[in-house]
Amino acid sequence: MDSATSTFGLVERFKKGETEAFSLIFRKYRRRLAVLVHYKMSPELRGAIEVDDILQEVFLAAAHDMGNFTYQSPGSLMAWLSRISDHVIVDAARYQNRGKRHAEEMLRFRSESNPAGPDPVDSETPSRVFARTEDVQILFKKLDALPAEYREMILLAKFEGLTTKEISARVEKSRESVALTLHRALKRFRELEAAAR
């Protein structure tokens, strides 16, 4: 647990000033957090703001506030990042609503109603590439096709990294019930995989 590349080790290294350790934290958690953030965002918000933008804010805040983070267990960093993402998503939604009230701010770039506006030159963003990446798209497609209860279990166990005991407390069901639901969720996920081949 205390090896240099465990979460604990990376957090300690970063707190001692080794900035490269944060890059490793980022690489270790980026994909899991991206999937969680994707499902935490409403479809409307996803259409307006990219997962990538949220992730960047989350990791920036995490780097800034790491001094206040206390490692308690292997899942505590992911839980902390997840909580930060909740705040960032709420802020982003508020910003988006503000944008609706001031629509002129959204018309910076060239469009039919703003023909004199500049072309967006940086429209190819990493998250668009990420979203296009075949395996991630397939993953979302299969997770979307699952019953909500199954998808939630997989997100909690696999992507949020909670133990079955922690999930049991979160969803207020017995651990045995959680284990059974996880089993059925994965079985269904497997069937979707087979159907997709």
Binding site: M1, T5, S6, E20, F22, S23, F26, R27, K28, R30, R31, Y39, S42, P43, I49, D52, D53, L55, Q56, E57, L60, S73, Y95, R108, F109, D119, V121, D122, E124, P126, S127, V129, F130, T133, V136, A145, P147, A148, E149, R151, E152, L155, A157, G161, L162, T163, T164, K165, E176, V178, A179, L180, T181, L182, H183, R184, L186, K187, R188, R190
Partner: protein, 288 residues
């Protein structure tokens, strides 16, 4: 979460007979034990784990494989430093004798080369082994070389040549002998630091004038020579604003070193890129 549940994707009914129910319980318990170990960051070998569950392996293994496949490409510390992989390097590249490795980054390694004809040392950047089969990464790597080759500025590293296609992807550049911005900053006065960062800002502006955005400006990408001249290095993420063909991104990667993300994430376009560049420059100032 945000996807509607339809009758087609309703949860499964429970097993009808007791034997099936018991078997399901056992597989579910084994699966939960596996997930708990993974959650606790224990290294769990799927094969070894399945062997601890006799009679359940055929049902358990495919589920564990599906779980592992959700991870995508494996996390590896080696991503941050190619040199840890212990890969050797050729004796010569572009005719230059290779002396030693002097650095490593996310995309590759920097070797110290010797140009026997001109009797000078050079730096040779080679693409990391893991990326050599990935066309998009190779393209971006060579893009770095071309982006650099287009410009000439005293505070931006010079490129001498691109490697031939029959050798490892590489390019030869000026060897900058100096220290990192952070190290240099410790020994300088405030006025000297200000002058240093003024030169970096002018060099960044020069890049912009030539439609190139560095996108990963940070203290470790700025070397300071003994005569206090800063040099901007490492154009692996550079973008040529006017060329669609040069927008190359590694799938799944957020551009830039995570600790110095672009700050302005709510707007797009040339202004936002310049703002982001200013933010990175300002972060460099705070580290200087």
């Amino acid at each position: 979460m945000s996807v509607e549940q339809t009758p087609r994707n309703a949860p499964d009914p429970p097993p009808r007979d007791e034997e099936s129910a018991e078997r399901e319980r056992l597989v579910a318990e084994a699966l939960a034990a596996y997930l708990d170990q993974v959650s606790l960051e224990e290294t769990v070998d799927t094969d070894a784990f399945c062997k601890t569950c006799p009679g359940l392996e055929n049902e358990l293994r495919p589920l564990l494989e599906s779980l592992n496949e959700m991870d995508g490409p494996p996390f590896s510390e080696g991503l941050a430093s190619e040199s840890e992989g212990g890969e050797g390097f050729p004796e010569r590249l572009s005719g230059h004798k290779i002396l030693e490795e002097i650095g490593a980054g996310g995309m590759g390694r920097v070797l110290l080369g010797y140009d026997e004809r001109l009797n000078r040392k050079v730096a040779i950047k080679i693409l990391g082994g893991r990326y050599r089969t990935e066309e998009s990464v190779k393209t971006r790597f060579m893009h770095e070389a071309r982006a650099l080759a287009q410009i000439s500025h005293p505070n931006i590293v010079h490129i001498f040549s691109l490697g031939p296609p029959d050798e490892l992807p590489h390019f030869v550049m000026e060897l900058v002998e100096g220290t990192s911005l952070v190290e240099a900053g410790r020994a300088l006065t405030l006025m000297q630091k200000a002058e240093l960062m003024r030169k970096v800002a002018l060099a960044a502006d020069f890049l912009h004038e030539h439609q190139i955005v560095h996108r990963d400006l940070k203290p470790t990408n700025i070397l300071v020579s003994a005569d206090l001249e800063p040099k901007i290095l490492d154009f692996g993420l550079a973008q040529h604003l006017e060329s669609d063909s040069k927008r190359v991104t590694q799938p799944g990667e957020i551009m830039g070193t995570p600790i110095i993300f672009r700050r302005n994430t709510r707007s797009r376009g040339r202004d936002s890129i310049r703002e982001a560049m200013f933010f990175r420059w300002a972060r460099c100032c705070t580290n200087c």
